[in-house]
Symmetry: D3
Subunit: 70 residues, 6 copies
Amino acid sequence: MPYVNVRITKEGNTPEQKAQVIAEITETLERVLGKPPEVTFVVIDEVPMEDWGYKGLPTSKLRPPNPGPV
Amino acid sequence: MPYVNVRITKEGNTPEQKAQVIAEITETLERVLGKPPEVTFVVIDEVPMEDWGYKGLPTSKLRPPNPGPV
Amino acid sequence: MPYVNVRITKEGNTPEQKAQVIAEITETLERVLGKPPEVTFVVIDEVPMEDWGYKGLPTSKLRPPNPGPV
Amino acid sequence: MPYVNVRITKEGNTPEQKAQVIAEITETLERVLGKPPEVTFVVIDEVPMEDWGYKGLPTSKLRPPNPGPV
Amino acid sequence: MPYVNVRITKEGNTPEQKAQVIAEITETLERVLGKPPEVTFVVIDEVPMEDWGYKGLPTSKLRPPNPGPV
Amino acid sequence: MPYVNVRITKEGNTPEQKAQVIAEITETLERVLGKPPEVTFVVIDEVPMEDWGYKGLPTSKLRPPNPGPV
C-alpha cells in the first residue's frame, strides 16, 4: 500500500513523461518491495517555480522561464 | 493540534461536499481524541487525474473524465 | 483513491482511538464523496511533542508531558 | 538537505513575500542547523480558502474573500 | 529539484531494498525528466502497521505481523 | 493558519536547535505574511539517514554516522 508523492517544479513536464514516471515507480515498488500495483498510489505535484525555493531563492529567479533540466 | 491532509482526485467534488468532509473529520478528532476544533486544520488537496497514478497508470487513463466513484 | 494523512502529537493516543479515527474518516469519504474503502488510505503520524511547534514554541514547553486535550 | 513545505491559504500573498519567506527559512536552517542552502528546498503551497478547514469550516466561510491576517 | 516521499508500512523492508528504491527512483527522474541526482531527494517513511488504515481498518488488523506483499 | 513541515535528517539536532527553528519560522510568517502564532504549526520530522536518499544513495552511505553540515 505505498503512497508516493513526487514533487517537481512545473516546467513543461508532459503527460507522457508523468505517466512514465508513474509506471516506473510503481514497477520499482512491485519488483523491489513486493507491493501490488492495485494498492499503490503515485501522486505527482507540479509546483510553480515562484513557489519552489532553492539556495534561498525562488527557482523562477534562478532560471529563465523555459524549462531546463533542474 | 491536528493537521489533516485529504488528497483526492479532482473530479467534480462540490464545495458543499468538501465542507462536509472538513466538518466530519474535525468532529471525529474532537470526539475520539479530544482535539479542539480551534486548533484543528483539515486541508483538502484536489489532484488532477493526469497526476494521480494508480495500478501504474494515470487515473485519467483508467477512467473517462466524468467523475466516477473512485 | 483518497490518501488522508492525520498528523497529531504523540500523547497517549491508544490503538483503539486510532482505529476509530481510521474507520470514521474512511466512512465519511465513502458516504460524502463516494470513495470505496478498498482504495482509501488513512495514515496517522504521531509526532513527538518536542517537534510540534505551536505559538512559536515546542508543544513540550506548552504543556506538561501527560496528555492534554490539544 | 532539508525539505521545508510551507502550506498557507491562497490570500494575496505576493511573489516578494513568498521570496522573503524562502530566503529567511533557508537562512534560519543554515545558521541554526548548519544546512547549506545548496541542498535546501523550501516549497510553498497556496491552498484555496474553500479547501482549508479550520474550526470545522472552510476558511472561505470564516472570512470574507479579501485577504486577512490568518 | 524533485522531492519524492515514499510512504510504506513498516514490515521488514531491508536497508538494501530501501537503497534500491532510492537508486531506481532517482534514475527514473534523471532519465525521464532530466532531473540531476545532485538536486534530487528521495525520502522513505516507514509507518507502523497500526497507523496505516486501509479498507477502514489498521493494516495490523488486516494482516498478521509477519511481512506480506501489500 | 500556516502549516510548516520541516523535514531533516536525524543527525544530532538538539531540542534547543529545533525550538529555535520553530521560533524563527513562526516569527518569519508573522512578520512577512501577518500569520498569528496562535494559528501557526511548525512540525519537524527527523528522518533516519538510511531513509533519506540524495544523489541516488542513502545519506548513511554518503556520510559517516557523526552529524555533518548537510
